[in-house]
């Protein structure tokens, strides 16, 4: 079926504004991960969903970051009061059940905070 999709592909915003990033996982995948990739760096884990619960939020960098997931489908990552250091590519990955599975990545959302 279709792969992981993310929207928007690019987002430019002004410092202090809120943004929402969307992830549509592969149908039937119960596990969903968000990562962030800053320029010249590797991917950093942000949050993990199993179904619509988030047992691991350890990577969220501040309380300005939050995420939710509707059932076993769409997830939204929200960044409030964006700062320039939030500029990065935000990647979503899903896997069939979780730990033992390969994670399939989406194309990412490039966020630029001016």
């Amino acid at each position: 079926g279709a792969g992981v999709s993310q929207s928007p592909s690019n987002k430019v915003t002004e410092k202090g504004k809120d943004v929402e990033l969307r992830c549509d996982p592969i149908s039937g995948h119960t596990a969903l991960y968000w990562y962030r990739q800053r320029l010249g760096q590797g991917l950093e884990f942000l949050i993990y969903f199993q179904g619509n619960s988030a047992p691991d939020k350890s990577g969220l960098p501040s309380d300005r970051f939050s995420a939710e997931r509707t059932g076993e489908s769409v997830s939204t990552l929200t960044i409030q009061r964006t700062q320039q250091e939030d500029s990065a590519v935000y990647l979503c990955a899903s896997s069939p059940t979780g730990y033992t599975d390969t994670q399939y990545f989406g194309p990412g959302t490039r966020l630029t905070v001016l």
Binding site: G3, V4, A31, Y33, Y35, G40, Q41, G42, L43, E44, F45, Y48, Q50, P55, D56, G59, L91, S95, G98, Y99, T100, D101, T102, Q103, F105, G106, P107, G108
Partner: protein, 117 residues
């Protein structure tokens, strides 16, 4: 804390040259190891993985990697690169199942490989 270090940030090779990209991790237990690749304009995709067993693992497109536990290393190799191997390569690790591990991946900073035709 878990971390992954990739020694080479940018590698330039000519076609048919041999490739070895270094990856070292710090984790005091059993780990799963991965190499992901991102071709220009494409999604990040799995190249190969190691969970257990034979420490020499083979992946897609002729790539292989060797897990050396004593050196905490998982280097990626290919005997003869092609122009189409131009991409960014990421090494990643995750801790063993259980102990609260949720499958999150810890990534290295990536290596950009440029292959000249």
């Amino acid at each position: 804390a878990q971390s992954v270090s990739q020694h080479n940030h940018h590698v330039i090779l000519s076609e048919a040259a041999s490739l070895e990209l270094g990856c070292n991790y710090s984790y005091g237990g059993t780990v799963n190891l991965f190499w992901y690749v991102q071709y220009p304009g494409q999604h990040l995709q799995l190249l190969l993985k190691y969970f257990s067993g034979d420490p020499l693992v083979k992946g897609i497109k002729g790539f292989e990697a060797e897990f050396i536990k004593s050196k905490f290393s998982f280097n990626l190799r290919k005997p003869s690169v092609q122009w189409s191997d131009t991409a960014e390569y990421f090494c990643a690790v995750r801790g063993p199942y259980g102990s609260g591990n949720t499958g999150k991946l810890i990534f290295g900073q990536g290596t950009t490989l440029q292959v000249k035709p």
